[in-house]
Symmetry: C2
Subunit: 257 residues, 2 copies
Amino acid sequence: MLTFIGLGLYDQKDISVKGLEAIREADVVYAEFYTSRLMGATLEDMQELYGKPVKVLMREDVEQHPKDTVLSDAVDKKVVFLTGGDAMVATTHVDLRLRAKKMGIETRLIHGASIQSAVCGLTGLQNYRFGKSATIAFPYKDIISETPYDTILMNKKNGLHTLLFLDIDREKGYMTVNRGIELLLKVEERRKEGAVAGALCVGIARAGSPSPCVRAGRIEELQAFDFGGPLHIMVMPADLHFLEEEALQDLAGLKLG
Amino acid sequence: MLTFIGLGLYDQKDISVKGLEAIREADVVYAEFYTSRLMGATLEDMQELYGKPVKVLMREDVEQHPKDTVLSDAVDKKVVFLTGGDAMVATTHVDLRLRAKKMGIETRLIHGASIQSAVCGLTGLQNYRFGKSATIAFPYKDIISETPYDTILMNKKNGLHTLLFLDIDREKGYMTVNRGIELLLKVEERRKEGAVAGALCVGIARAGSPSPCVRAGRIEELQAFDFGGPLHIMVMPADLHFLEEEALQDLAGLKLG
């Protein structure tokens, strides 16, 4: 039996009561922190709450040799597999689940809070007004991907907001809103199609923590704003509805006019 | 102090450990179940876990007279406000939060699992491939809204999946996938633009429960499929990526060819 458990957004207590019970009943506890991680908890904090050790797996372990660990254990033991955010959202988890299925291992999901809906709650932007999301990646050999720019452009044409995930890289670290803005503005310099220059932007830091930071303003103004520690995420909104505008004024310091 | 807590998807144990602690420390506990509700828990189940009574509010209480209950209490007491799914995603909650802010009441969010990301986990459909979502509403005086159809059409043109929320009505009850399909096919009869006829459809029931049902197939085939009890939700996918196709075959009984 293999149970995928989403740990939620920020610290060890964002797991559901159901998820915590499943960990306490498990024979083996695995976790991976390469797709996402809890910024407000150390591995020790987690182990203390769970009352048992957690084995942390690298991407290679999960994607290349899962039969050496998770899958062989799950054949005849109760195994839980922990991930930041909600369970099974990343491709790497879907792949693991399908491999388990092929081996006849029963799988189960225990969901956790996800940044996608948390952003709506924190900003007041309405979930049905979001179009496709995109990820701003660190440049690869100085090449900046234009995909986020194209996504913003397409969504704005359809009157939709764009949620922009910010890259997490083992060496380069956690991308900030500021760096994300810089990369978008560089693409704007080339493309000049007006998707981002002078546009409204919303930056969010530490969702799920006791001190989340949510700030809205013109993208150029936000570029120097200090959002504090990671994780960061951002939204490029389309035209705002009345209640959204009011929410960004009251919750995110938006100044109009 | 007013803390919005998302209860997650299915039963009383889908709340986070942090959320449960906040309830136990609260002076007053309010809940609303008109935007969403936990199908796997009664009010008694919840109260037993929390160790204290829960006052359930109607839409009128929250939207028209919040100062009679939540807001007046939150001025000098620790008040928690419980909702199904994630916290503060519905307009009605944003409105309540802004009113609290205006009265100088501090607000805080404790997130819960949301159906939006749960659908990705359950189906293997990738979250960055979803476009705008829509709601299939019960017909109003025999008028069927074409908005969901238009949304599917727009998303498919952009190669994106469409998440379709199914209406919850105090009198008409919980809309099933079957009824949602019937309404979409009726719009197709009029419009004949091919957004749904013969198309792939994915129905999901009881996300977050121990026995979720996930089924994929041609929309006409799914129309008679028995998904069991509520809540239901559905997806009209665009063309599938390889791993998505494999996931729907293995997890949702999709037969190709």
